[in-house]
Protein backbone atom coordinates (compact mmCIF):
# COMPACT_ATOMS: atom_id res chain seq x y z
CA UNK A 1 0.00 0.00 0.00
CA UNK A 2 1.10 3.53 -0.74
CA UNK A 3 -0.67 6.69 0.36
CA UNK A 4 -0.37 10.34 -0.61
CA UNK A 5 -2.55 13.40 -0.32
CA UNK A 6 -2.85 15.40 -3.53
CA UNK A 7 -0.91 18.22 -1.86
CA UNK A 8 1.99 15.82 -1.25
CA UNK A 9 2.38 14.91 -4.92
CA UNK A 10 5.29 16.33 -6.89
CA UNK A 11 4.51 19.72 -8.36
CA UNK A 12 5.78 20.19 -11.89
CA UNK A 13 4.97 23.55 -13.44
CA UNK A 14 4.50 23.21 -17.16
CA UNK A 15 5.28 26.00 -19.63
CA UNK A 16 1.60 25.96 -20.71
CA UNK A 17 0.60 27.23 -17.25
CA UNK A 18 -0.86 24.15 -15.56
CA UNK A 19 0.80 22.11 -12.82
CA UNK A 20 1.27 18.37 -13.31
CA UNK A 21 1.00 16.29 -10.11
CA UNK A 22 2.13 12.78 -11.14
CA UNK A 23 0.08 9.96 -9.61
CA UNK A 24 0.73 6.95 -11.87
CA UNK A 25 4.45 7.66 -11.72
CA UNK A 26 4.44 8.13 -7.94
CA UNK A 27 2.68 4.82 -7.25
CA UNK A 28 4.12 3.01 -10.29
CA UNK A 29 0.60 2.14 -11.42
CA UNK A 30 0.82 -0.11 -14.46
CA UNK A 31 -2.75 -0.79 -15.53
CA UNK A 32 -4.15 2.67 -16.26
CA UNK A 33 -3.04 6.27 -16.64
CA UNK A 34 -3.89 8.67 -13.83
CA UNK A 35 -2.66 12.07 -12.70
CA UNK A 36 -3.79 15.16 -10.82
CA UNK A 37 -3.60 18.66 -12.26
CA UNK A 38 -3.71 21.95 -10.39
CA UNK A 39 -3.43 25.54 -11.62
CA UNK A 40 -0.66 28.03 -11.00
CA UNK A 41 -3.38 30.48 -9.95
CA UNK A 42 -7.15 30.95 -10.05
CA UNK A 43 -8.24 31.56 -13.62
CA UNK A 44 -5.24 29.67 -14.92
CA UNK A 45 -5.17 26.57 -17.08
CA UNK A 46 -5.67 23.33 -15.15
CA UNK A 47 -6.18 20.85 -18.00
CA UNK A 48 -4.28 21.72 -21.15
CA UNK A 49 -6.29 22.08 -24.32
CA UNK A 50 -5.71 18.92 -26.29
CA UNK A 51 -7.21 15.92 -28.03
CA UNK A 52 -6.37 12.27 -27.47
CA UNK A 53 -6.38 11.59 -31.22
CA UNK A 54 -2.79 10.38 -31.26
CA UNK A 55 -3.04 7.98 -28.31
CA UNK A 56 -6.67 6.98 -28.87
CA UNK A 57 -7.38 7.25 -25.16
CA UNK A 58 -10.77 7.71 -23.56
CA UNK A 59 -10.48 9.91 -20.47
CA UNK A 60 -12.30 10.83 -17.29
CA UNK A 61 -11.64 14.19 -15.61
CA UNK A 62 -12.89 14.24 -12.01
CA UNK A 63 -12.94 17.47 -9.98
CA UNK A 64 -11.57 16.55 -6.55
CA UNK A 65 -11.27 20.09 -5.15
CA UNK A 66 -12.43 23.60 -5.98
CA UNK A 67 -14.26 24.65 -9.12
CA UNK A 68 -13.24 24.50 -12.77
CA UNK A 69 -14.66 25.49 -16.13
CA UNK A 70 -14.33 22.75 -18.72
CA UNK A 71 -14.56 23.31 -22.43
CA UNK A 72 -15.32 20.15 -24.39
CA UNK A 73 -16.08 20.26 -28.08
CA UNK A 74 -16.62 24.03 -27.64
CA UNK A 75 -19.29 23.48 -24.93
CA UNK A 76 -18.57 25.10 -21.55
CA UNK A 77 -19.39 23.44 -18.21
CA UNK A 78 -18.72 24.84 -14.74
CA UNK A 79 -18.03 21.94 -12.41
CA UNK A 80 -17.46 21.52 -8.68
CA UNK A 81 -16.23 18.70 -6.46
CA UNK A 82 -17.53 15.26 -7.39
CA UNK A 83 -18.43 16.16 -10.96
CA UNK A 84 -16.68 14.46 -13.82
CA UNK A 85 -16.36 14.73 -17.56
CA UNK A 86 -16.02 11.48 -19.47
CA UNK A 87 -14.65 12.11 -22.97
CA UNK A 88 -15.12 8.89 -24.93
CA UNK A 89 -14.25 10.39 -28.32
CA UNK A 90 -10.47 10.87 -28.54
CA UNK A 91 -10.93 13.42 -31.34
CA UNK A 92 -12.77 15.92 -29.13
CA UNK A 93 -10.78 18.95 -28.06
CA UNK A 94 -10.95 19.49 -24.31
CA UNK A 95 -9.38 21.75 -21.68
CA UNK A 96 -10.20 23.45 -18.40
CA UNK A 97 -9.39 26.54 -16.37
CA UNK A 98 -9.49 26.76 -12.59
CA UNK A 99 -12.12 29.03 -11.11
CA UNK A 100 -10.63 28.69 -7.62
CA UNK A 101 -6.94 28.61 -6.78
CA UNK A 102 -7.32 25.36 -4.79
CA UNK A 103 -8.85 23.46 -7.73
CA UNK A 104 -7.61 19.95 -8.47
CA UNK A 105 -8.64 17.58 -11.25
CA UNK A 106 -7.86 13.87 -11.29
CA UNK A 107 -7.57 12.28 -14.72
CA UNK A 108 -7.98 8.65 -15.67
CA UNK A 109 -7.32 7.30 -19.14
CA UNK A 110 -6.39 4.45 -21.39
CA UNK A 111 -7.12 2.86 -24.73
CA UNK A 112 -10.15 0.56 -24.64
CA UNK A 113 -9.37 -3.03 -25.55
CA UNK A 114 -5.62 -2.69 -25.10
CA UNK A 115 -3.27 -3.32 -22.19
CA UNK A 116 -2.08 -0.03 -20.71
CA UNK A 117 1.31 1.29 -21.80
CA UNK A 118 2.99 4.13 -19.95
CA UNK A 119 2.74 7.20 -22.18
CA UNK A 120 6.02 8.67 -23.35
CA UNK A 121 4.87 12.19 -22.49
CA UNK A 122 5.20 11.38 -18.79
CA UNK A 123 8.99 11.21 -19.04
CA UNK A 124 9.05 14.39 -21.13
CA UNK A 125 6.92 16.20 -18.53
CA UNK A 126 9.04 14.83 -15.67
CA UNK A 127 12.20 16.13 -17.32
CA UNK A 128 10.86 19.67 -17.78
CA UNK A 129 12.03 21.16 -14.45
CA UNK A 130 15.52 19.72 -14.92
CA UNK A 131 15.72 21.04 -18.47
CA UNK A 132 14.56 24.46 -17.26
CA UNK A 133 17.42 24.47 -14.72
CA UNK A 134 19.78 23.05 -17.36
CA UNK A 135 20.42 19.99 -15.18
CA UNK A 136 20.96 17.89 -18.27
CA UNK A 137 22.26 14.73 -16.59
CA UNK A 138 18.98 14.19 -14.72
CA UNK A 139 16.84 15.16 -17.72
CA UNK A 140 18.80 12.66 -19.83
CA UNK A 141 18.50 9.97 -17.15
CA UNK A 142 14.70 10.32 -17.09
CA UNK A 143 14.54 9.89 -20.87
CA UNK A 144 16.93 6.93 -20.85
CA UNK A 145 14.80 5.25 -18.18
CA UNK A 146 11.66 5.72 -20.28
CA UNK A 147 13.46 4.38 -23.34
CA UNK A 148 14.24 1.10 -21.58
CA UNK A 149 10.49 0.43 -21.80
CA UNK A 150 9.86 2.14 -25.16
CA UNK A 151 13.20 1.84 -27.02
CA UNK A 152 11.72 2.80 -30.39
CA UNK A 153 9.69 5.81 -29.40
CA UNK A 154 10.64 8.56 -31.90
CA UNK A 155 9.59 11.53 -29.73
CA UNK A 156 11.50 10.23 -26.71
CA UNK A 157 14.60 9.68 -28.85
CA UNK A 158 14.28 13.17 -30.33
CA UNK A 159 13.89 14.79 -26.90
CA UNK A 160 16.84 12.80 -25.59
CA UNK A 161 18.92 14.01 -28.53
CA UNK A 162 17.95 17.64 -27.75
CA UNK A 163 19.13 17.29 -24.17
CA UNK A 164 22.31 15.45 -25.07
CA UNK A 165 23.14 18.20 -27.52
CA UNK A 166 22.57 20.88 -24.88
CA UNK A 167 24.76 18.84 -22.52
CA UNK A 168 27.58 18.83 -25.06
CA UNK A 169 27.23 15.13 -25.88
CA UNK A 170 27.22 15.74 -29.62
CA UNK A 171 27.83 12.20 -30.85
CA UNK A 172 25.09 10.70 -28.64
CA UNK A 173 22.74 13.48 -29.78
CA UNK A 174 23.46 12.82 -33.45
CA UNK A 175 22.97 9.06 -33.09
CA UNK A 176 19.67 9.40 -31.21
CA UNK A 177 18.40 12.04 -33.62
CA UNK A 178 19.24 9.78 -36.57
CA UNK A 179 17.40 6.91 -34.89
CA UNK A 180 14.36 9.11 -34.25
CA UNK A 181 14.25 10.25 -37.88
CA UNK A 182 14.69 6.69 -39.15
CA UNK A 183 11.64 5.67 -37.16
CA UNK A 184 9.58 8.74 -38.04
CA UNK A 185 10.92 11.03 -40.80
CA UNK A 186 8.91 14.09 -39.67
CA UNK A 187 11.45 14.69 -36.90
CA UNK A 188 14.05 15.69 -39.51
CA UNK A 189 11.98 18.76 -40.30
CA UNK A 190 11.65 19.70 -36.64
CA UNK A 191 15.40 19.22 -36.14
CA UNK A 192 16.19 21.68 -38.90
CA UNK A 193 14.40 24.45 -36.96
CA UNK A 194 15.18 23.36 -33.40
CA UNK A 195 17.63 25.65 -31.62
CA UNK A 196 18.66 22.78 -29.33
CA UNK A 197 20.60 21.34 -32.29
CA UNK A 198 22.50 24.50 -33.19
CA UNK A 199 25.80 22.92 -32.13
CA UNK A 200 25.51 19.89 -34.44
CA UNK A 201 23.42 21.10 -37.36
CA UNK A 202 26.45 21.42 -39.62
CA UNK A 203 27.82 17.99 -38.64
CA UNK A 204 28.03 15.27 -41.24
CA UNK A 205 25.08 12.90 -40.78
CA UNK A 206 22.70 15.55 -39.43
CA UNK A 207 19.34 14.57 -40.95
CA UNK A 208 18.31 16.57 -43.99
CA UNK A 209 14.76 17.94 -43.97
Amino acid sequence: MNVAHIDELDRIEMPEGFVWRPVRRRFDIRSFGTNVYTPSEAGGQIVEEHTEAQLGHEEIYLVVRGRVRFTVDEDEHELGVGRLVYVRDPQLRRGAVALTDDAAVLTLGGKPGEAFEVSAWEAMFAAVPYAQREEWDEAIRIHEEALTERPDHPALLYNLACMECRAGRSLDALLHLQRSVALEPKWAGYAQRDSDFAAIRSEQGFPAA
Binding site: M1, V3, A4, F27, S31, F32, I60, R83, P112, G113
Partner: protein
Protein backbone atom coordinates in the same frame (compact mmCIF):
# COMPACT_ATOMS: atom_id res chain seq x y z
CA UNK B 1 -23.88 18.17 -25.65
CA UNK B 2 -22.27 15.86 -28.22
CA UNK B 3 -22.38 12.07 -28.02
CA UNK B 4 -18.63 12.13 -27.59
CA UNK B 5 -18.68 13.07 -23.92
CA UNK B 6 -20.76 12.87 -20.75
CA UNK B 7 -20.96 15.01 -17.62
CA UNK B 8 -21.78 13.12 -14.42
CA UNK B 9 -22.26 14.31 -10.83
CA UNK B 10 -21.34 11.58 -8.36
CA UNK B 11 -23.85 12.73 -5.75
CA UNK B 12 -26.67 12.63 -8.29
CA UNK B 13 -26.13 8.93 -8.99
CA UNK B 14 -28.71 6.79 -7.22
CA UNK B 15 -26.66 4.73 -4.75
CA UNK B 16 -27.23 0.97 -4.88
CA UNK B 17 -27.24 -0.95 -1.58
CA UNK B 18 -24.38 -3.42 -1.28
CA UNK B 19 -24.89 -6.53 0.78
CA UNK B 20 -21.66 -6.85 2.78
CA UNK B 21 -22.34 -4.31 5.51
CA UNK B 22 -25.40 -2.38 6.72
CA UNK B 23 -25.66 0.99 5.02
CA UNK B 24 -23.06 0.21 2.37
CA UNK B 25 -23.85 1.83 -1.00
CA UNK B 26 -22.10 1.68 -4.35
CA UNK B 27 -22.12 4.31 -7.10
CA UNK B 28 -22.12 2.35 -10.35
CA UNK B 29 -20.00 4.75 -12.38
CA UNK B 30 -18.71 2.08 -14.78
CA UNK B 31 -22.20 0.94 -15.68
CA UNK B 32 -23.50 4.46 -16.18
CA UNK B 33 -20.63 5.61 -18.37
CA UNK B 34 -19.62 2.35 -20.04
CA UNK B 35 -16.01 3.42 -19.49
CA UNK B 36 -13.77 0.72 -21.01
CA UNK B 37 -10.17 1.63 -20.30
CA UNK B 38 -10.19 0.73 -16.59
CA UNK B 39 -12.57 -0.22 -13.83
CA UNK B 40 -14.19 2.65 -11.94
CA UNK B 41 -16.90 2.74 -9.29
CA UNK B 42 -17.66 4.78 -6.20
CA UNK B 43 -18.78 4.27 -2.63
CA UNK B 44 -20.83 6.76 -0.62
CA UNK B 45 -21.67 6.75 3.08
CA UNK B 46 -22.38 8.75 6.20
CA UNK B 47 -20.30 8.59 9.40
CA UNK B 48 -19.96 5.00 10.60
CA UNK B 49 -21.21 3.46 7.39
CA UNK B 50 -19.14 1.10 5.30
CA UNK B 51 -17.53 2.35 2.11
CA UNK B 52 -15.15 -0.06 0.36
CA UNK B 53 -16.12 -3.63 1.33
CA UNK B 54 -13.45 -5.76 2.97
CA UNK B 55 -11.77 -7.76 0.24
CA UNK B 56 -8.66 -8.71 -1.66
CA UNK B 57 -8.64 -8.46 -5.44
CA UNK B 58 -8.82 -12.10 -6.52
CA UNK B 59 -9.01 -10.76 -10.06
CA UNK B 60 -5.38 -9.61 -9.73
CA UNK B 61 -6.28 -5.93 -10.11
CA UNK B 62 -4.26 -3.13 -8.59
CA UNK B 63 -6.55 -0.39 -7.28
CA UNK B 64 -6.37 3.31 -6.60
CA UNK B 65 -8.83 4.76 -4.09
CA UNK B 66 -9.53 8.48 -4.27
CA UNK B 67 -11.29 10.22 -1.37
CA UNK B 68 -13.29 12.78 -3.32
CA UNK B 69 -15.37 14.25 -0.51
CA UNK B 70 -15.67 13.92 3.28
CA UNK B 71 -13.39 11.76 5.38
CA UNK B 72 -12.71 8.03 5.34
CA UNK B 73 -10.67 5.55 7.35
CA UNK B 74 -8.99 2.73 5.45
CA UNK B 75 -7.48 -0.41 6.89
CA UNK B 76 -5.05 -2.17 4.56
CA UNK B 77 -3.46 -5.41 5.77
CA UNK B 78 -4.13 -4.31 9.34
CA UNK B 79 -2.70 -0.80 8.92
CA UNK B 80 -5.06 2.12 9.58
CA UNK B 81 -4.98 5.07 7.20
CA UNK B 82 -6.67 8.36 8.05
CA UNK B 83 -7.98 9.57 4.69
CA UNK B 84 -9.47 13.06 4.40
CA UNK B 85 -10.69 14.37 1.05
CA UNK B 86 -7.84 14.46 -1.46
CA UNK B 87 -6.18 11.29 -0.20
CA UNK B 88 -5.00 8.72 -2.77
CA UNK B 89 -4.39 5.12 -1.69
CA UNK B 90 -2.78 2.60 -4.02
CA UNK B 91 -3.45 -1.01 -3.02
CA UNK B 92 -1.97 -4.14 -4.63
CA UNK B 93 -4.17 -7.11 -5.52
CA UNK B 94 -3.25 -9.35 -2.60
CA UNK B 95 -3.63 -6.72 0.10
CA UNK B 96 -6.74 -6.89 2.26
CA UNK B 97 -8.56 -3.56 2.35
CA UNK B 98 -11.69 -2.05 3.86
CA UNK B 99 -12.88 1.54 4.33
CA UNK B 100 -15.50 3.20 6.49
CA UNK B 101 -16.88 6.71 6.39
CA UNK B 102 -16.09 9.18 9.16
CA UNK B 103 -18.16 12.07 7.83
CA UNK B 104 -21.59 12.57 6.25
CA UNK B 105 -21.66 12.19 2.49
CA UNK B 106 -18.15 10.81 2.10
CA UNK B 107 -17.39 9.61 -1.43
CA UNK B 108 -14.53 7.30 -2.38
CA UNK B 109 -13.86 6.46 -6.02
CA UNK B 110 -12.16 3.13 -6.76
CA UNK B 111 -10.18 2.69 -9.98
CA UNK B 112 -8.69 -0.64 -10.97
CA UNK B 113 -7.09 -2.73 -13.65
CA UNK B 114 -4.90 -5.77 -14.29
CA UNK B 115 -1.30 -5.11 -15.21
CA UNK B 116 -0.42 -6.15 -18.75
CA UNK B 117 -4.00 -6.90 -19.73
CA UNK B 118 -6.67 -4.99 -21.59
CA UNK B 119 -9.42 -4.07 -19.18
CA UNK B 120 -12.46 -6.27 -19.68
CA UNK B 121 -15.56 -5.02 -17.90
CA UNK B 122 -17.12 -8.03 -16.18
CA UNK B 123 -20.68 -6.88 -15.66
CA UNK B 124 -20.05 -7.02 -11.92
CA UNK B 125 -21.89 -3.76 -11.30
CA UNK B 126 -24.91 -5.03 -13.24
CA UNK B 127 -24.92 -8.02 -10.89
CA UNK B 128 -24.73 -5.71 -7.86
CA UNK B 129 -27.68 -3.68 -9.15
CA UNK B 130 -29.71 -6.80 -9.92
CA UNK B 131 -28.88 -8.33 -6.54
CA UNK B 132 -30.02 -5.17 -4.74
CA UNK B 133 -33.32 -5.22 -6.66
CA UNK B 134 -33.79 -8.91 -5.82
CA UNK B 135 -33.23 -8.24 -2.14
CA UNK B 136 -35.89 -5.53 -2.31
CA UNK B 137 -38.30 -8.03 -3.85
CA UNK B 138 -38.34 -6.20 -7.21
CA UNK B 139 -37.86 -9.47 -9.06
CA UNK B 140 -38.95 -8.42 -12.56
CA UNK B 141 -36.57 -5.45 -12.52
CA UNK B 142 -33.84 -7.69 -11.08
CA UNK B 143 -34.31 -10.24 -13.88
CA UNK B 144 -34.07 -7.49 -16.48
CA UNK B 145 -30.92 -6.03 -14.88
CA UNK B 146 -29.15 -9.39 -14.60
CA UNK B 147 -29.68 -10.01 -18.34
CA UNK B 148 -27.93 -6.76 -19.33
CA UNK B 149 -24.35 -8.12 -19.34
CA UNK B 150 -25.21 -11.22 -21.43
CA UNK B 151 -25.15 -9.41 -24.75
CA UNK B 152 -22.54 -6.93 -23.58
CA UNK B 153 -20.01 -9.59 -22.53
CA UNK B 154 -20.77 -12.69 -24.64
CA UNK B 155 -17.64 -14.53 -23.45
CA UNK B 156 -18.42 -14.18 -19.74
CA UNK B 157 -20.00 -17.41 -18.44
CA UNK B 158 -21.18 -15.79 -15.22
CA UNK B 159 -23.52 -13.43 -17.09
CA UNK B 160 -25.95 -16.15 -18.28
CA UNK B 161 -25.19 -18.18 -15.15
CA UNK B 162 -26.42 -15.36 -12.90
CA UNK B 163 -29.46 -14.96 -15.14
CA UNK B 164 -30.16 -18.69 -14.64
CA UNK B 165 -30.02 -18.19 -10.87
CA UNK B 166 -32.49 -15.33 -10.98
CA UNK B 167 -34.88 -17.26 -13.25
CA UNK B 168 -34.71 -20.24 -10.88
CA UNK B 169 -35.50 -18.00 -7.91
CA UNK B 170 -38.39 -16.45 -9.87
CA UNK B 171 -39.84 -19.93 -10.51
CA UNK B 172 -39.11 -19.93 -14.24
CA UNK B 173 -37.26 -23.25 -14.75
CA UNK B 174 -37.45 -23.23 -18.58
CA UNK B 175 -35.71 -19.86 -18.71
CA UNK B 176 -33.25 -20.97 -16.02
CA UNK B 177 -32.20 -24.06 -17.98
CA UNK B 178 -31.87 -22.05 -21.19
CA UNK B 179 -29.45 -19.63 -19.48
CA UNK B 180 -27.64 -22.49 -17.77
CA UNK B 181 -27.07 -24.11 -21.16
CA UNK B 182 -25.74 -20.82 -22.49
CA UNK B 183 -23.31 -20.58 -19.56
CA UNK B 184 -22.20 -24.19 -20.07
CA UNK B 185 -21.42 -23.49 -23.72
CA UNK B 186 -19.04 -20.71 -22.64
CA UNK B 187 -17.27 -22.53 -19.79
CA UNK B 188 -18.64 -25.92 -18.79
CA UNK B 189 -15.89 -26.57 -16.24
CA UNK B 190 -16.57 -23.35 -14.33
CA UNK B 191 -20.34 -23.85 -14.34
CA UNK B 192 -20.16 -27.50 -13.27
CA UNK B 193 -17.77 -26.56 -10.49
CA UNK B 194 -20.07 -23.86 -9.18
CA UNK B 195 -23.66 -24.90 -9.83
CA UNK B 196 -24.06 -27.98 -7.57
CA UNK B 197 -23.32 -25.92 -4.42
CA UNK B 198 -25.32 -22.87 -5.43
CA UNK B 199 -28.50 -22.59 -3.32
CA UNK B 200 -30.03 -20.23 -5.92
CA UNK B 201 -30.40 -23.27 -8.22
CA UNK B 202 -31.86 -25.66 -5.60
CA UNK B 203 -35.30 -25.54 -7.21
CA UNK B 204 -33.88 -27.10 -10.39
CA UNK B 205 -32.33 -30.18 -8.80
CA UNK B 206 -35.39 -32.44 -9.20
CA UNK B 207 -35.83 -31.60 -12.86
CA UNK B 208 -34.51 -34.23 -15.28
CA UNK B 209 -32.68 -31.53 -17.21
CA UNK B 210 -30.47 -30.78 -14.18
CA UNK B 211 -28.84 -34.21 -14.19
CA UNK B 212 -28.41 -34.10 -17.95
CA UNK B 213 -26.76 -30.66 -17.92
CA UNK B 214 -24.90 -30.47 -14.64
CA UNK B 215 -24.43 -34.16 -13.84
Amino acid sequence: MSDGYTILALDEIEPVPYHQREGQKILTIQRLLDFRAAGINGWIGDAGEGLVPEHEEDSGSEELYVVVRGHARFTVDGNDVDAPAGTLIHVLAGENRVAVSEEAGTIVVAIGGRIGEAHGPSGWTSFVVADALRREGRMDEARAAIREPIEQFPDAWHAPYNAACFEAIAGEPDNAFAYLQQALRIDAQAVKGYAPQDPDLDSLHDDARWKKLVG
